[in-house]
């Protein structure tokens, strides 16, 4: 469900679970972290994209519910942290084709990217405190990408934002008109990055990383998210959410 291929100089990583809006299972998230660190050593640019109607709906919450000891949620958080760390410490730029939606863990991935292309009607955000989950795991990278003030309001407000607001905040680098245009535009952007001489871009990225407040390996966000998993409050809210979701789906 994670497909990674080297196409010319571009390392393509595809989230391929379109029937579940590319929701990440613990296995997928672990594979994603591996794929990023592995391909970053071979390619001149990484391109992360999703199959189907949206880029990524976040963690697979059904998986989280099925493990009463919270091992699935913990493993998802660990792998998300590893993926973000691998994106930030990658020697080559990372482009994301974000079409349709990137929610919660999916939106967190944008914080690790260098360049994000989305469509105007895209839906982005972190509605996870409603499930008793803290989005702190993505705070260090998000704050590096869009600044501390914007990251604070994005992470504490569970509402979703559209393309224009995301562009204004710097979460998205460029917008295209329709979701179908996103992946082709991102592929062109990745080609352009890959065609630049590698030394200059590598040194610039390294230096920018050193100037950032939180280093790529900073675990403080992960620790904060892990600290609130497994509590009664979290499990209760998750149960409640999935029950209401199932009722809505059954009623259709």
């Amino acid at each position: 469900m994670i497909r990674s291929t080297l196409e010319g100089r571009v390392g393509r990583i595809l989230l391929d679970r379109p029937d579940q809006r590319n929701a990440l299972t613990p296995e997928m998230a672990a594979d994603l972290a591996m794929a990023v660190s592995h391909l970053a050593q071979k390619a001149s640019c990484l391109l992360l994209e999703g199959e189907g109607r949206v880029f990524c709906a976040g963690f697979d919450l059904e998986c989280c519910r099925r493990t009463p000891d919270n091992s699935a949620l913990r493993s998802l958080l660990e792998s998300l942290h590893k993926t973000l760390a691998a994106m930030r410490s990658s020697p080559v730029p990372v482009v994301i084709a974000c079409h349709g939606a990137a929610i919660a863990g999916g939106c967190a991935l944008l914080g690790g990217a260098d360049y994000v292309i989305a469509d105007r009607a895209v839906k982005l955000g972190y509605p996870v405190a409603l499930l008793g989950i803290s989005p702190a795991v993505s705070a260090p990278t998000l704050a590096n990408r869009i600044g501390g003030g914007a990251a604070r309001s994005r992470l504490l407000d569970p509402g979703l934002i559209g393309g224009h607001q995301a562009l204004q905040a710097g979460l998205v680098s460029a917008l295209v008109d329709s979701p179908e245009d996103v992946r082709p535009a991102a592929a062109r952007a990745a080609e352009r990055f890959a065609s630049q001489p590698g030394g200059g871009i590598r040194a610039t990225r390294d230096w920018l990383g050193k100037l950032e407040a939180a280093g790529a390996a900073d675990r403080s966000g992960l620790e904060a998210s892990l600290a609130v998993t497994g509590g009664e409050e979290g499990r209760g809210l998750l149960e409640q959410f999935l029950r209401s979701l199932n009722r809505r789906t059954a009623g259709r």
């Binding site: 996870v128 704050a143 609130v228």
Partner: protein, 253 residues
């Protein structure tokens, strides 16, 4: 009359500056009253039934017209006390586990605009006037500068604090000084309520952990830098240049 009112309804608390005849200008007494209320919120925050969201707002037409410097001009000991108390108030608000939303209607000027930057999320309306005209008066917004830098980043903070003057709500939102600007005060009121309810539906521990981490990441609880800013602001207020400029300003108004 209570200078700061606190109203708690379920998971949402509202703390309001209540000096409407002075456009909620921050006097030593108003700041003391706000600190007292914030202390109550902090003390009760451990209870599971405690509010999760705090709306910070002002009674009357303006959120806050800034520091009440007129009242302290003739007493050299007063500016350090006023600015020092503001510094402590900002630190105490930021340390609250509640998600703080500033509802900025009418105007948020100088120290008042600084308070909006201490909130986690700030909403205003297009015709509101916000910003930091301190440098126009020969004074220095040092006490609130750390919060402005955390809100918008160093580059934009330079632009906002050094240019002086005021911004319309919509411009402030484009710069990131406010998170959102609504068409008018009525829309602002409903947007704030809706946002507060949406956030308050979240898990208490999840919200708290997220806010704690954000405070750690941006150094929000570093009291020294804010206190140093208060000292610097007070020093500049005491300078002959600032005194002359403030007197001229108050005599003409």
């Amino acid at each position: 009359m209570t200078l700061a009112t606190l109203d708690i309804r379920g998971r949402v608390a509202t703390l309001a500056l209540n000096r409407p005849d002075q456009r909620n200008a921050l006097s030593i007494d108003l700041i003391a009253s706000l600190r007292h209320r914030v202390g109550e919120l902090a003390r009760d925050a451990g209870s599971p039934d405690a509010p999760r969201v705090l709306i910070l707002t002002g009674h009357g037409k303006a959120f806050c017209a800034g520091m009440d410097l007129r009242a302290v001009l003739d007493d050299p000991a007063a500016p350090p006390r006023l600015l020092g108390a503001l510094a402590e108030l900002t630190l105490e608000i930021r340390a609250l586990p509640h998600v703080v939303i500033a509802q900025v209607q009418g105007a948020a000027i100088g120290g008042g605009c600084g308070l909006t930057c201490v909130a986690d999320i700030s909403l205003t309306h297009d015709s509101a006037k916000v910003g930091f005209p301190e440098v126009d008066l020969g004074v220095c917004p040092a006490v609130v500068a750390p919060w402005v830098v955390r809100k918008v980043g160093g580059g934009k903070a330079r632009q906002i604090l050094l240019r002086g003057g005021l911004l319309a709500g919509a411009e402030a939102a484009a710069l990131g000084l406010m998170d959102r600007s609504l068409p008018g005060p009525n829309e602002l009121d409903s947007a704030v309520r809706e946002l507060a309810d949406r956030i308050a539906a979240g898990g208490r521990l999840a919200l708290r952990a997220t806010k704690e981490l954000l405070n750690r990441l941006d150094g929000s609880l570093d009291a020294d830098v804010v206190r140093e800013g208060a000292r610097l602001s007070a020093e500049v207020v005491a300078s002959p240049e600032a005194q002359a400029s403030l007197r001229a300003r108050f005599e003409s108004s």
